[in-house]
């Protein structure tokens, strides 16, 4: 069982610079063809400062930083048992190429279902930019399948 002492735990901050080539790679990986997501001029014509990070991109912050791997190790969830239960984003302002996003997360709940066959970890995050403006609030439900 995952120790509920982790409820309230604050994860180290993850800093994610929004980089052009990474967004272009992400667009390719998801089959995105809208030039807003690959071409700075198209993005500017659409009213962005530069290419915007697509809606789910900020999830990369805690993967790149290793913070999520560290959390899973702390909680004792092996990658082989990890499932993604839910994911949510509330958006406040765009993150574009040139921005540096900082994601700070907290574990807000841990509980089990089906007599412990499934365990759930709720993580909530705030993503801010280099001017300390709120970019997004993020909610993740991490699931560990036992047996």
């Amino acid at each position: 069982m995952i120790d509920t002492k982790w409820i309230g735990h604050e994860l180290p901050a993850s800093v994610l610079p929004i980089e052009r080539s990474r967004l272009q790679f992400f667009a390719k990986a998801i089959g995105e063809t809208d030039p807003v997501y690959t071409d700075a001029d198209a993005a500017r014509r659409a009213g962005y400062r530069d290419i915007p990070a697509p809606p789910t991109f900020l999830f990369a912050a805690e993967l790149d930083s290793g913070v999520l791997d560290r959390l899973l190790a702390d909680l004792g969830i092996p990658l082989a048992k990890l499932l993604h239960g839910e994911q949510g984003f509330t958006y406040h302002r765009p993150a574009c190429v040139g921005d540096t996003i900082t994601v700070r997360s907290k574990i807000t709940d841990i509980y089990a279902k089906k007599n412990g066959a499934l365990e759930f970890v709720i993580k909530t995050s705030r993503a801010t930019n280099q001017d300390d403006e709120l970019v997004a609030e993020i909610r993740s439900v991490i699931v560990c399948r036992n047996g």
Binding site: V36, A60, L63, L79, H84, Q87, Y91
Partner: protein, 139 residues
């Protein structure tokens, strides 16, 4: 792209569907690199089998990214206020996903006129993989 207007959108309207090609290993390799999710269960069949799975399977966030494309194809991302997904089933190699959305409600949120959209992704066998909701501001 013509941005939908609040006045001309009705509850029950369907967003244009987004049909994706069947998932292959190349797609999962690319998404692992681009997303930063290097969990070998999505890219290494040996690891997946040791974990009790028949083969590698898709990242949940790949399916959510496709639902994001459904939404931003319909209205600019700058008008997206909220985007929530629940992962309901594992998406396997060979699954051809269709993303769809339907206007469920017209409402005012933080002094903006918005629509709440119910979204889902389903494979070619009719199995639902993701259900979710989005809130989009429309002028």
């Amino acid at each position: 792209m013509t941005t939908p207007r609040y006045a001309s959108v009705a509850v029950g309207d369907e967003l244009p569907v987004l049909d994706l090609p069947p998932i292959d290993r190349t797609r999962l390799g690319l998404f692992a690199g681009a997303s930063g999710d290097h969990n070998p269960i999505h890219i290494d069949i040996d690891f997946a089998r040791k974990a009790g799975m028949p083969d590698v399977f898709a990242h949940g966030m790949l399916g959510m990214a496709w639902l994001g494309r459904l939404l931003t194809n319909w209205a600019p991302q700058s008008q997206l206020r909220r985007f929530d997904a629940r992962f309901q089933g594992i998406t396997h190699l060979g699954n051809a996903i269709r993303c769809s959305g339907r206007v469920a409600e017209k409402l005012e949120h933080n002094r903006e006129t918005c629509v709440r959209i119910e979204i889902k992704s389903v494979n070619q066998y009719g199995q639902t993989k993701i259900v979710g909701e989005a809130l989009v501001a429309l002028g």
